[in-house]
Symmetry: D2
Subunit: 399 residues, 4 copies
């Protein structure tokens, strides 16, 4: 029943969400040390959340003798050196997403951490939303048949912190910020053992005066034939659009994590001063989310991480997953430049092969059944193909 | 950081939900003793949930020296004697809803427990759903102005356990089973200090061959003029319909807790064998809920209860609230018989008065402004009443 | 293929909607004469809609030799004298809703018009929305079993024209303005031959400084045992809420006619100047309706009226229906005063009796089956009642 | 007030929809001659719809002296010869979608019909749905700013008639069948004068045993920088998914034409035998559409066509639009083969240039404003870029 003591690196929005989650309802794990580059922020954060120790010394934070887990919530360009340090001090490492700015950096991180033999996990919260977990379980159980297509969409009007907009620090724009979520969600639905083979990607800077892309769309072709599709944008208006759609040979799954979750409010603006988070307006129709740290997956994510650590098993999301995501993003950037499909370069692929998505071939009266549908009178209508002549016909048969 | 050790009384659906919640993600409170009337169920439950002690002896369970909190998850007819016992043993008491079968019984329970000076709480989970908590906070902050109307609806095809159908054990039918939720949700939205004055109620047994009502609708008039409205049914088809709607002078709030929460699946039925909970079918379009114990309020409810206990404060939901709910339900049953409005009999009312729901009277050109609306060209259209002549006119004015 | 020539009485919002519909897409019926009390409005309306004749003389408009149909779109207090005149001139009469200010007036109108032997129809558009017609057909075909409950809700921030607010001219407030729609929608779903027996109603003036009610809720008990429920308000914020819900022993039907019809827009307010109709704001999330005269039933309504006239049959909605609606509304006002259930006084009831809503009694092992549900493993769980002992038990049986 | 007499070529699903629309509510245009290849179908269709003349002779049908308009509702491989014949006989021509099997064929048709100087129109119904028309008007008025992205999705389990599955007759698979709708919807939202420059497309045959593609996704880059995205599938499960989404610099528009339009039913399957159209099941939750010929645009489409013919103007959708659509589809097929972006080859482009999608550059304190957002306290947070140093910072300013 004992919990873990955590060193939290970073006091930005992600560090805040992580700490809110850990110090949330009746939990037994606690942030014990917090690090920020500026002493004021470190102290204010420690004071607000009841954290005993705050520091501006990164190694001191990591090496603190009373913590066993280091959570990396720093800008992307600091991930590698931070995790190297944490690995050297033998701490368990949980790293925010994306793992790195590109696959080369990600691979070095992976090798360092795995080489050090410490526990590690990849904090991809959106794979842990309660809806995603339940949908993934249903899909894994075969309820929608073989997955043919998975769409993941994350769009909003742009990030809150300045460093996200700096392509050098971030490693890119909307793809690196939002696409990393989408890619891992898509992998979750098509199956993590399903190798991403190649990618075609469009990226453009349509609205903001920046170098990095503020809009991108990509298609990812997997070994099974399934296609992944992500849409990311820093120019969407109307809040945060966070939706996934999956099509299978026997069904469909749709999840909406933000704008339409069964909670709707209209305010004339002449009542009190409450402002819904991530809504663009404080009046009119707004669509709040119940408990954000639950709905966005933070609670289930940390539960899995600490349970995995306690249980001596790998968590659902590992640094290796982070590396695969970086490799897919690299292919996206290459494709946006080359304007053609680009292979996903994975020097280390740990999957063991999947079956292609095909349905059993059936015959009726010596012809191939193309499609079968139920008619209102209970009979079945078949579309048939005569393979010798190539002719298509239909036939109506009793049920 | 230490938690509580709980005696769980009852291993039915509600005991299961409570235990799932307490033993859920990284929590620090634990069920330590479980009681059931049948030894097999007690043992199986203890084994499934890793509970050290199981027993069929009620007093032994309550008096167990290693637990400090007793959770009452037994049929309604056993609440009074159980809480009397728990109070006598000085335990903290958390009682499931409804508190009792009627207000007289509820008042005796309240007096006993309050008299004993022990901590107590009323386990009304639906007031604690993340959506309800956030909507209540927005409403309390005045965002939708003064509440004029609150509708709470809970309907499904009927309860799972036999005793619910027995009016003697339960104290009634759908009103006692479901209406108790609705009444407390309505009180949460109109304000708990807003006295429920009177009730008109229709109740009928339309479908099931039982004596108790399987359908009921009631209106509750509050001191402020606000009207509460609940609809309960054991004959609804299509899953569980759990929706609340609130209207205020400056806005509107709608919550949907089950059927349309942004998670939708279609299954042909020819894929795998997953069955969504509380759906009536395993194929076709189904509407799962992400994490039920979160979405239905159990997590936030127990967090508030234990935090209140630790913090020496009253929880959001007290046994007194349970007593008020019983008094409203008693008035519903009287009204269903008398076929007229019936006063809510509350010998112990702890509210301190509320203001009536009225808007400020405004004048324009010596006439009363009845309504004002914005026109497409930006001007404002006023409906006016000349109080001396009684005549209604309209006028268009510049913005 | 020839159409009808119409005398349109009234140039308010309803006259506008009617004329938009008749002069809409490729129709063959036309407004030929328009009447308004003020010459400017009559002329402007005629000019805008290409109507050959305009007049301020009511009888001249009605008696015009080149029109065969008179559409009454005047305030409620003018209905009786207008229809008397139209009947005397032998014209076909289509009257807007409500038919009259009360049932006595409605009955006199009915007798006059039926006595004159002219064709007549009741322009209750909301019964003719494409969704309502299709839902009604499905329900009539038995798809949701026997109807047990029908809820109809119409709420908005209050009417646009001054006379609606004048209880003397209108005959009442929100009940007369909006409840008349709801009552006829409810009758459509529970069956028009299903006699409305009695009513309980709450009405109050919560927000606007008027005498008439600005909010009301009523329950209507029908001969079959089915319950109707309507909610009307002139104080709703957020647009126009126009929803119906029907519960049956074998299913459920929900329709939403305005706020959530699959069309959603967000506007920052810094783009162009389009304003969505009936939305309270021009920016933020708004919910437009595709083609309002279609979606609100006007197109199907007039098609039925003229087809009935051409085909020598009664339309779906007759003046008799209008009379029944007035009788229900009268009972609502009586109940709001007496504060108890009040009978619906119908001196002329043309229904021929309906069966009560009951399900077949089934037995299992000598016990009555209270409820049956499917379990995840395919087996069935039965709740049983032993009629001799009164005891409730459950049993699990193979499928 | 006189209407048109139509020769209907084809009695399949599309001919049925067209005739239902023309013979619908109080219309003044009528099908006067119907042609089918088989005499039984021609006669049965004529008899069902009250059509005076039926024939199996194509030229006789086209040349019939009592009709002035020919509607082409035949398989794609018959379009060219049919329209050549109709043009030769000087008839007005309305052609179903797609115009042809490829752009070369489409261009020949266009030249023939335009050369003959007869009136013509392209029957792209989905551009005429009431929601699409209203959304397009709002977008044209600038309400959502400059369009950056338009997604159009049409997926269902596959077509009903055999010839659709025959790539030779149809000209392709799901792209030709469904993509033609999506492309024209996208053009409607990004602006028809906005030249489609290039395309990248994925197409695959994942489920059905056919040669043609049963799934495809394409991106279309327009002159303004806007990106179009279509998703088509013959393997979707759950009914027909028909949705459009548009993003602009100042807003968002979403339309759902089929599965979620505010009409929802649950049926246990033990009630009556009604089956919802295009639903895959007759029980469970189903999502009917109100009036299909209205909601899918047929009514507004024919109204525009005949009004244009009567008014001596071009209709909203012309054969030229059909040609552009074919050219985009040709580029899709080329891209699916070449696996790279392919130019859209348009030898005849009639647009006159559009402005690129860019927002005004603003400065604050000598730095470029990257993003501005409102904070809960009313102040504004700016993300700024120092163009000389390239550094990103943020600043909070008073409103």
């Amino acid at each position: 029943m004992t919990g873990h003591r955590v060193t939290m690196l970073g006091t930005g929005l992600i560090g805040l969400f992580y700490t809110m989650t850990l110090h949330g309802k009746r939990g037994r794990d606690r942030v014990h040390v917090v690090y920020s580059r500026t002493p004021e922020r470190a102290e204010a954060f420690a004071s607000e959340w009841g954290i005993p120790t705050s520091t501006t010394d990164l190694e001191e934070a990591i090496a603190h003798p009373e913590t066993d887990v280091v959570v990396v919530g720093l800008p992307n360009d600091l991930h590698e050196q931070t995790m190297e340090l944490a690995a050297r001090h033998g701490k368990s490492i949980l790293c925010t997403k994306p793992l790195a700015r590109n696959a080369v950096e990600a691979k070095r991180i992976l090798d360092t951490v795995e080489g050090a033999g410490v526990f590690s996990g990849y904090l991809e919260d959106l794979v842990y939303t309660p809806k995603t977990l339940k949908a993934a379980a249903a899909i894994e159980a075969g309820q929608i048949g073989k997955v043919t297509w998975a769409r993941s969409r994350e769009t909003h009007p742009g990030p809150h912190s300045a460093w996200f907009w700096d392509a050098e620090k971030a490693g890119g724009g909307a793809i690196v910020d939002l696409g990393c979520h989408c890619i891992e969600i898509i992998r979750t639905f098509v199956g993590k053992g399903n190798r991403p083979l190649e990618v075609v990607c469009w990226a453009d800077t349509l609205v903001h005066p920046i170098e990095a892309e503020d809009n991108a769309i990509a298609l990812i072709r997997f070994e099974s034939g399934a296609i992944g599709q992500f849409e990311v944008s820093w120019t969407f208006r109307g809040g945060m659009d966070l939706r996934d759609e999956v099509a299978g040979t026997e069904g469909t799954a749709w999840t909406n994590h933000f704008l339409r979750t069964g909670f709707e409010m209209f305010a004339s603006g002449e009542g009190g001063g409450y402002v819904a988070e991530k809504a663009e307006t404080a009046s009119g129709w707004i669509f709040p989310v119940g408990d954000e740290v639950v709905e966005l997956g933070y609670v289930d994510m940390f539960a899995d991480m600490f349970d995995a650590l306690d249980g001596g098993r790998a968590p659902r999301e590992t640094l290796y997953d982070g590396y695969v995501v970086n490799a897919v993003m690299d292919a996206c950037y290459r494709s946006a430049q080359s304007r053609r499909w680009e292979p996903v370069a994975l020097e280390d692929w740990r999957g063991t092969g999947v079956e292609p998505t095909t349905r059993t071939r059936r015959e009726h009266d010596g012809k191939v059944v193309i499609k079968e549908e139920q008619m209102p009178d209970g009979r079945r209508k078949l579309i048939l193909k005569d393979e010798s002549s190539g002719a298509f016909t239909d036939a109506v048969v009793d049920a």
